[in-house]
């Protein structure tokens, strides 16, 4: 997968407030006016990213959990991760 974050580790930021709900996870980044909601499989994504995880490993893990094609997972996940990084919910490290 070609992307600015593909070779990097992704991790959820430690300075956010969050809660698990029955439909996903709610996250409040520092200083944000709105809560970010990760619905459905977002909770699994959130759980996976408690520790820094290489994007390819993340995709492989989620693909195994959902019996899906890792490339398809990567294509679907990429814009989500980029958006969450921009919204200060997640961080990327080399």
């Amino acid at each position: 997968v070609t992307s600015p974050i593909a070779p990097n580790s992704v991790v959820r930021r430690g300075d956010v407030l969050w809660r698990a709900t029955l439909n996903g996870v709610l996250i409040r980044p520092p200083g944000a006016d709105e809560v970010v909601k990760l619905a459905g499989t977002g909770l699994a994504l959130w759980a996976e990213l408690e520790q820094p995880t290489h994007f390819s490993d993340l995709c492989a893990s989620l693909a195994a959990g959902h019996r899906a094609d890792p490339n398809q997972i990567a294509a679907d996940l990429m814009p989500v991760i980029v958006d969450l990084v921009e919204r200060a919910v997640m961080a990327v490290s080399p």
Partner: protein
Amino acid sequence: MVDAWLNVLAGYGLPGTLAPTGLPTSSSELVFAASKHKLIGVLAGAIADETITLPPDDFEQVARAHEGTMREALLLEEVLLEALDVLDRAGIDARVLKGTALAHMVHPDPSERCFGDNDILVSPRDVDPALEALGKAGAFRTMPPLSATYDRRFAKSVTLRWTGPTELDLHRTLAAGPYGLLINLGDLFRDPAEVLLAGRAVRTLPADLHLLHGAVHVALGDVDARLGNVRDLALLSQRDSIDFDEMIATAEQWQCAAPVALGLRRTAALGHARTQIEMWADDYVVSEVDKKRLDAYAERSGRFRRQAFASWQVLGWRDRMAFTRALLVPNAANRAARGRTRRSQLGRVRPG
């Protein structure tokens, strides 16, 4: 039927309890009742664990209610961190009390614990500086003080409005009325515990003092204790790290053993295996002095007045004069906020 089911839900996961099963009433009624008792998070947890299985419509109703309370909790926690920053910059040592602290310290998952406000404790000497610092940061009190010194000498807490609709109770002590005045406030600042909020270590009471506070709150707070608060107590009672003999000694030094015991007795409704501290509470014999003090908290009608008279009896002479004056002749701003004149105020404060 609903009450019995809510008791089972409040005991969910405690040793020796039965698991809650299907709903005893419509989901809308149950969501209302569970929310009233701060148990919507426990209900959501039992659903997430698949202990309770609901039809899709009922599931969505519970999920929506839980999400609403969790959004509120996140907003409150953000505001709490802002308030703690303000106090820290003012050099004020503070402790987080009740919901927020217990959610992260005691409950298996903070998503289980609902709360509707923030509670922060400061020492009496810091009450006025804290109010000033928070006021400069945009907080405002809902009611002017009764007197210039009442907040730091006699008040349980001062209620502030903060960012948006959130409420912040700045506590001087842990209970209203005589028992709140009897607590040795210096004890509350020893050996702080910490909880992590957004990666930040936030100071709170150690577990034994949370247990004392929780018991006093259940016994003396609302006339009808909320089951979520009772669950807090039952969970705290399970903690091996608490030295219960030392905790009871502290309660006795504070002359608060009676309300602590009465609060802990309420956990019997949850049906779990009684712990050492709960068995102590079951066997506790309330003295005649405590029976009179406890009467001040018994019913809603006339509660403030009865607590005022019971408080007066535990104060020293100098404090009695200041306390009496504050109640009989409150500051003009306080009277105006309550729509009272000096004459009507004097007529309201009578024994009985």
